[in-house]
């Protein structure tokens, strides 16, 4: 992979919490226009790594370069201005505002004037299938997840980090959400997605990184990584081989 084409390049990223090494020398290179999946069992370190990319957690080692700029120590708001957008595992709506005003908060980043921000936000709200005048507090989980995606889209990111944004949805909601992610990708936005639902990973991504015990244990196409012995062992435990052989 040539360096010039990489939108994001994380090299040898580590994060320790006291004695605990949550991420150990993780590498990730994301080309512009890609959708990459990060998977791994619970506690594998993928969320910590994801937070390092988003700027919420400062890595204790390594380097993160975005669009040619070193953002390793940059704050989340600086990264948002640079073009890195993110969602959260538990979506947080600005409860006292309606959907449109929530999205306008994101739109103000590139459109400081109210009317411009409003117009831009309305376009995004329409794209995500929400009702602009609906009170944010009245939204259910799928609506909140959409709202969070809409809000971050309004910041016009070049790279979108989706943190389990499709978890907890019914099968039909999941299909709609997958279609939405495809539409976002079609807008030219590069996506890194952390997800537990394999259907999402298999459907949306062309490349997957598998985390376990703080480092990347496998990478490749979704089809190939799920067959790798290290990945099966990480998810099912060492005992699975013995059981399988019996």
């Amino acid at each position: 992979m040539s360096e010039a084409k990489n939108l994001l390049e994380a090299t040898n990223v580590s994060k320790t919490f006291g004695e605990f090494l949550a991420v150990r020398g993780a590498d990730l290179a994301v080309e512009e226009g890609e959708i990459i999946g990060l998977i791994g069992p619970n506690g594998a370190g993928k969320s910590t790594f994801f937070n390092c990319l988003a700027g919420e957690t400062m890595p204790t080692g390594g380097k993160i370069v975005f669009a040619g700029t070193d953002v390793t120590r940059a704050l989340p708001e600086t990264r948002a201005r640079a073009g890195i957008g993110r969602t959260f595992q538990v979506p947080t709506a600005f409860e006292d505002m309606n959907v449109l005003h929530n999205v306008m908060v994101g739109a103000f980043l590139r459109h400081p004037h109210r009317n411009d921000a409003r117009e831009h936000a309305l376009r995004i709200v329409e794209l995500t299938g929400l009702r602009p005048d609906q009170a944010a507090r009245s939204l259910g989980t799928p609506g909140r997840k959409r709202l969070e995606i809409a809000r971050v889209l309004a910041t016009e990111p070049r790279l979108l980090l989706l943190d389990e944004s499709l978890a907890g949805l019914t099968p039909s909601e999941l299909r709609d959400a997958i279609a939405l992610v495809r539409r976002i990708h079609a807008m030219g936005i590069t996506i890194v997605i952390v997800e537990h639902i394999m259907e999402v990973i298999m459907t949306l991504t062309k490349r997957v990184l598998v985390f376990n015990q703080g480092h990347v244990i496998a990478s490749g196409t979704p089809d190939s990584v799920v067959r790798e012995e290290a990945v099966i062992e990480a998810y099912l435990g060492r005992g699975h081989r013995k059981r399988r052989d019996q």
Binding site: P76, G85, T92, F94, E95, V105, F108, R151
Partner: protein, 321 residues
């Protein structure tokens, strides 16, 4: 049912005509006290209501604004109004100095830090001879000219205070519609989410605190120009800060007219309890404030305006039936 526009026109007319209709000194005094409480609470509302940074030490800004007019008068013989811009500048400076470290704290830690700073300043002023120490400062007993703003009647004070309240509310209304206002409300809801959308959280909170401090300082200056006397307790006392919080929360913190509604209810009831029980009833203010805090926290965290917004559609429906 009244439309919001009609309600606003009636409110403005009511405020303009109040001292002319109820012209007795007692009623005018209530009017002036109400306006001062509304100005202070509206100023607090910018940072405490909209941005959700609940300062319980806003008396530090009120006190600075209260001391500077009498300080410039006693030290240099200047008219007290010359102290207003100095008070504003000092309050903004203090807001920046206080805000930088305390905005690292959130929730009740921030509130406690503001109480501590206000108390420290109160104690410091109580021992500082240059500002009159515990005795305080006295303004001009007799006006040397109109610029001393020393009037026998409450009426000029009423309209000056009303003008300042209009400026504070118009500024807040302008903020509400602009990016700054959206950012404040986003910060109140979730700093983490706001940061992820590129909101410069610390800078926005500092700007809100500085603006709020400036207006609170003006409230302090108005207070002292009217009373002509200040001491550390009446400038920096915790009840001043608590009153701002309660007035705003009672009407609806984070809403434009919440502090006005809160002051409209609290000040007459406070004056009534004080006049009913005389000097022996002064402690009742604490009981009244405590009771209001409990009632708001338990039943109406959004304040009375929020309750009205929830009830008015039902009332309208019933009226149609």
């Amino acid at each position: 049912m009244l439309s919001p526009r009609t309600g606003l026109v009636l409110l403005v007319l009511g405020l303009l005509l109040y001292p002319l209709i109820l012209s007795g000194p007692f009623y005018r005094d209530i009017g002036v006290t109400f306006l001062l409480a509304a100005i202070s609470a509206s100023a607090w509302n910018i940072v405490g209501g909209y941005a959700g940074q609940v300062s319980v030490g806003h008396s530090m800004f009120f006190g600075l604004g209260a001391y500077t007019p009498l300080l410039v008068y006693t030290q240099w013989g200047w008219p007290p109004i010359a102290g207003i811009p100095i008070g504003i500048a000092l309050a903004i400076g203090l807001a920046v100095v206080i805000g930088m470290p305390t905005f690292r704290l959130t929730g009740h830690y921030f509130s406690m830090a503001t109480i501590a700073v206000a108390e420290l300043i109160r104690i410091f002023f109580g021992t500082w001879d240059w500002v009159g120490a515990a005795i305080g400062l006295q303004g001009p007993a007799v006006a040397r000219g109109w610029w001393d703003l020393t009037f026998r009647s409450e009426l000029p004070y009423y309209y000056i205070f009303l003008g300042v309240l209009a400026v504070v509310l118009l500024t807040t209304a302008a903020i509400e519609r602009r990016r700054f206002g959206f950012y404040l409300r986003a910060i109140k809801a979730s700093e983490r989410a706001a940061k992820s959308l590129g909101v410069p959280v610390r800078r926005t909170k500092l700007q809100a605190l500085a603006l709020s401090a400036a207006f609170t300082s003006v409230a302090g200056s108005l207070y002292v120009i009217k009373t002509g006397f200040i001491d550390p307790d009446s400038a920096f006392g915790i009840l001043i800060s608590v009153q701002m919080v309660i007035v705003a929360a009672l009407g609806g913190a984070g809403t434009l007219f919440g502090p006005l509604i809160g002051a409209l209810i609290l000040i007459p009831s406070q004056t009534l309890t004080n006049s009913l029980f005389g000097g022996g009833g002064s402690g009742l203010t604490y009981i009244l404030y405590g009771g209001i805090i409990v009632l708001i926290a338990r039943f109406e965290p959004g304040g009375l305006l929020d309750l009205w917004h929830r009830l008015s559609p039902q009332l309208r429906k019933r009226a149609h039936v």
